[in-house]
């Protein structure tokens, strides 16, 4: 971030709190959002993976259960569901993110 911005804040006699709210936070929002998005993706992966390995319920469990039961149709159906959920959520997060970066560039 450009150091001129907090300096402008200081010249306008903003308090540290105001500088944080009006300058640092808006400047960091897109990056924070990218972090949130990656965090979401990785926690989804973690949840599904651990459900897949040991659990008693959940979509990941459904897949490994239908696999062991040779219930192939159910297995592919739940796979498709998870993939759709992941792609949908990721797609909307990417939209928001692009909008945030675009707004910042102006």
């Amino acid at each position: 971030m450009d150091w001129i911005y907090p300096k402008v804040g200081r010249s306008l006699r903003l308090s540290s709190f105001e500088i944080f709210i009006w300058i640092y936070f808006p400047a960091a929002t897109p990056y924070i959002f990218t972090g949130l998005k990656l965090g979401f993706i990785y926690s989804l992966i973690g949840v599904i993976a651990s459900e897949f390995i040991i659990s008693t319920r959940g979509l990941g469990h459904l897949i490994s259960f239908s696999y062991s039961a040779f219930d192939t149709e159910n297995m592919y159906a739940s796979m498709l569901l998870i993939v759709l959920i992941a792609v949908l959520i990721n797609g909307s997060l990417v939209r928001i993110e692009t909008w945030l970066y675009g707004r910042r560039a102006k």
Binding site: M1, D2, Y31, T34, G35, L38, I41, L44, I45, V47, I48, A49, F52, I53, I54, L59, G60, I63, S64, Y67, M75, S78, M79, I82, V83, A86, V87, N90, G91, V94, E97, T98, Y101, R104, A105
Partner: protein, 267 residues
Amino acid sequence: MNVRRKREILIRLGIISVPILIIALWQLGSIILKEFILPSPLCTFSVLRNGLFEGGWLLSDLKATMIELLLGYLSAVILGLVVGFILGMHRFSREVMEPFVLNIYAIPKVTLFPIFLFLFGLGMESKVAFGFFHGIFPIIILTMNAIKDIKDVYIKVGWSFRLNPLKIFKEIVFPSILPSLMTGLRLGFNLAFLGVVLGEMAASRSGLGYTLMKSEGAFYMEKILSIILVLAVIAITVNFVYYTMERKLGRVDEIRVVEGEKSLPVR
């Protein structure tokens, strides 16, 4: 100068003190939670030493995992680089494939593991394939974006110097993509490792992940912790090597490159 040197020493001390603190916390936890749930570091290390040297219960698993990892990772690197180069240079196929590749990168790939089991069976092949599938996408994405981001002017300068294509690749393309290539290879390694161990944990007959799950069933916490230690040491060593190379070459902004096209304002 002196102040800087002092600062460096302080940072070194800080870096060393973090693992010591973790081990201290581990010891404290094992006292509070009882050895049965969280064995003490000393106990774990003796089981680990037994596994690596005298008893050797770890060695065959370690070998299986390393072979799977090596094969999966190597094939991911080779194919990832080739596909990344093609997508980077050919604009049409990049624009067609990019959303697809980025989305596959984001989905939890464990869900597709049963397909690998159907295709490759319970043995090592399915883990190699799964590690490959995990590792290839970051390598494709980073190579592709690195090639795309080379400025046209550089290539044109090469042409005006009458360099042949091979020379252009060697003198212009390769040096400019090298930093993000390193990042791609590192991320690819991490994900390939994840894929291999995950596959072993889910369904297999050998490997560190398999023994980890077996010890989980038998509630043999010392073994679980020593396997975790072995996995951590492998991951940290490889990452350290890549990190050092990346730092020498100049780091790239990891998140920005992985996330693909984002015209950020210059910072």
